[in-house]
């Protein structure tokens, strides 16, 4: 089967958009696909808007340009919706995974052809990790919402990527990942 997906991550410096992209690419690679992850080439400052990209493909990826028309967008910080054109270029039928306590009805920028998964990823992250880190929760939701990477592969990616931070950190992140996955699997997809 021939596949090609592009995913864009939006976060703030320090939230780990670049790590999230690397984890997703690692998982896709674990699943046997070619993948590529890279940050938007900008100076990183804590709190400033940050972007990172992932390509997943069944064929070798040769391109080294940025992503302009993603198939999915992951938003780590809902406050960015007010200041950044987060949905720019998102393909018709594209998926948005949003870290938010609010349901999509409350969200501006709604577009009829887009799919939303909203989940309180910071709260879930706080519960498992002791810090409001939404990363692995959102990745779980993205995996459940798209089926582009398996939960098993994401777990393996988390394990290898966070190994140096200790076993407890790995375990907590896997729990966060699973809760994000479970949340998005149970939630009726919020097609507007």
């Amino acid at each position: 089967m021939s596949i090609f997906y592009e995913i864009r991550f939006h976060g703030r410096g320090g939230q780990g958009a670049v790590s999230a992209a690397a984890l997703l690419a690692l998982a896709a690679f674990e699943d046997g696909f070619e993948s590529q992850a890279f940050p938007k080439f900008g100076s990183e400052r804590r709190g400033a808007p940050v972007e990172a990209y992932v390509r997943i493909s069944s064929a070798m990826i040769r391109a080294h340009n940025q992503v302009y028309t993603p198939d999915a967008v992951v938003i780590q910080d809902a406050s960015l919706l007010r200041s950044e054109p987060l949905l720019q270029g998102l393909k018709n039928g594209g998926l948005i995974v949003l870290n938010s306590e609010r349901q999509p009805d409350d969200i501006d920028n709604k577009n009829d052809s887009l799919r939303w998964i909203c989940l309180p990823a910071s709260r879930i992250g706080q519960h498992h990790l002791g810090k409001p880190l939404p990363n692995t929760v959102l990745l779980g939701a993205l995996a459940a919402g798209t089926g582009w990477v398996s939960l098993t592969a994401l777990e393996r990616a988390v394990t290898s990527h966070l190994q140096r931070k200790g076993e407890e950190m790995v375990k907590a992140n896997i729990e966060a990942l699973r809760e994000g996955y479970g949340f998005a699997s149970q939630t009726e997809e919020l097609v507007s």
Partner: protein, 391 residues
């Protein structure tokens, strides 16, 4: 087995496999991850080397100069202003014919200050007596490190591996790392014939007067010319042992029957290959040629590969301000010398990290079909200004 590695990690792992004994550097974006990784390996005892955190890039270059003169294999990496600060030392390394290997994580040069990729930094060092290899992917970056040490030590010439900052250094891609045994089999231990030794005193880099200085330059130039066959042979040998080759000096793509050929350097060429496939599907007779080795300048190889083209575009990420495209000018000279009058269009693009997207590259191909080649050079359109792409 392939792993998903950041370009910097891939390079650092390849350098580790080459067993350098001295690593010296001063941090600068986007090179820093390479040196951090090597520092970790040294700290963890996974690399038996002396790691020296220098006080500046000038210091780092001086340290590797001394280390290699003392007969040890050494490594450093830098970018942009850091490379420029090394300049004086890099000329000395070149002049002393010391087989130093370094990475330039290509980055724009200030002012204005800019941390993103173009080739202005390494292009400024083109006359310093260093071999320059520009890589397209992280796999090639890793493999070229291993080739670079063998080339440098066989030719007694320093080698600069130029990898695009961020576009490669900060991008995760699948990379296969060879085993230590395989690298040891390909890269013999370093034995430097002119090793400084207090029991047999000798001077390196002494004074050269008018009656002999020019002979040094002639010898250096001859060594560079001779390095062309070495670079080709070692790449071919690498292919036999590891199953991957990069064309040695230049690498063609869809050149068969290509009327318009785009020549370029570095990671941009992966995107160009995608565009060539797309245009070929539409029946356009286009091809691409990647200049992998810029120094020594492979005039003969370029002429051979471009002989059948009716139109040549050189797309490069550097400019000789006041003259135009650097590679384009050298290519025009090489073709002229060979009696080939094929028009060469010089296009400058991607400066300071401006994205060279498939749409931009397609526009560069399309615009070359017009017959307006009288200009010395023009600039690639900006993806952010979509209108320019559909002129």
């Amino acid at each position: 087995m392939k792993q998903l590695l950041e370009g910097s990690q891939a390079v650092a792992e390849a350098v580790r496999l080459c067993r350098p004994q001295v690593v010296a550097a001063y941090p600068i974006t986007p090179q820093t991850h390479i040196i951090e990784r090597l520092a970790q390996h040294v700290a963890n005892g996974e690399l038996e080397a002396e790691f020296i955190n220098a006080e500046s890039e000038f210091g780092a270059a001086s340290i590797v100069l001394g280390a290699v003169a003392a007969g040890t294999r050494a490594f450093t990496a830098t970018a942009s202003q850091g490379l420029l600060l090394m300049t004086e030392v890099l000329y000395n390394i070149g002049g002393m014919r010391l087989p130093v290997v370094m990475v330039c994580a290509n980055r724009a040069v200030g002012a204005p200050i800019n941390i993103f990729c173009d080739h202005q930094d390494s292009m400024a060092l083109r006359d310093a007596g260093w071999i320059q290899i520009y890589v397209e992917s992280n796999q090639e970056a890793a493999d070229s490190m291993i080739q670079a040490y063998r080339i440098a030590e066989a030719c007694e010439l320093p080698v600069m591996v130029c990898m695009d900052g961020f576009l490669l250094t900060h991008t995760f891609e699948p990379v296969a790392l060879p085993s230590q045994v395989a690298v040891d089999g390909y890269l013999p231990a370093f034995r430097f014939a002119r090793t400084l030794d207090p029991t047999q005193p000798m001077t390196l880099g002494g004074a050269g007067e008018a009656d002999n200085y020019q002979e040094y330059r002639i010898a250096q130039h001859d060594a560079m010319e001779n390095a062309q066959t070495v670079i080709e042979a070692f790449d071919a040998d690498f292919g036999e042992q590891f199953g991957r080759t990069y064309g040695g000096l230049v690498q063609g793509y869809c050149l068969e029957g290509a009327q318009t050929v785009l020549l370029g350097l570095g990671s941009l060429m992966g995107t160009v290959h995608d565009v060539v496939d797309r245009l070929r599907d539409q029946g356009e007779a286009v091809g691409a040629l990647r200049l992998r080795c810029f120094r020594p300048f492979p005039a003969q190889a370029l002429v051979q590969h471009l002989n059948g083209a009716q139109r040549i575009i050189v797309l490069e990420k550097a400019i000789s301000i006041g003259a135009g495209g650097i590679v384009a000018a050298e290519l025009r000279a090489a073709l002229h010398q060979a009696g080939i009058m094929t028009p060469v269009e010089s296009v400058i693009g991607g400066l300071g990290g401006r994205d060279l997207t498939p749409e931009v590259i397609e526009a560069v191909f399309r615009d070359a079909k017009s017959d307006e080649l009288e200009v010395t050079c023009r600039f690639a359109p900006d993806h952010a200004k979509g209108g320019e792409l559909h002129g």
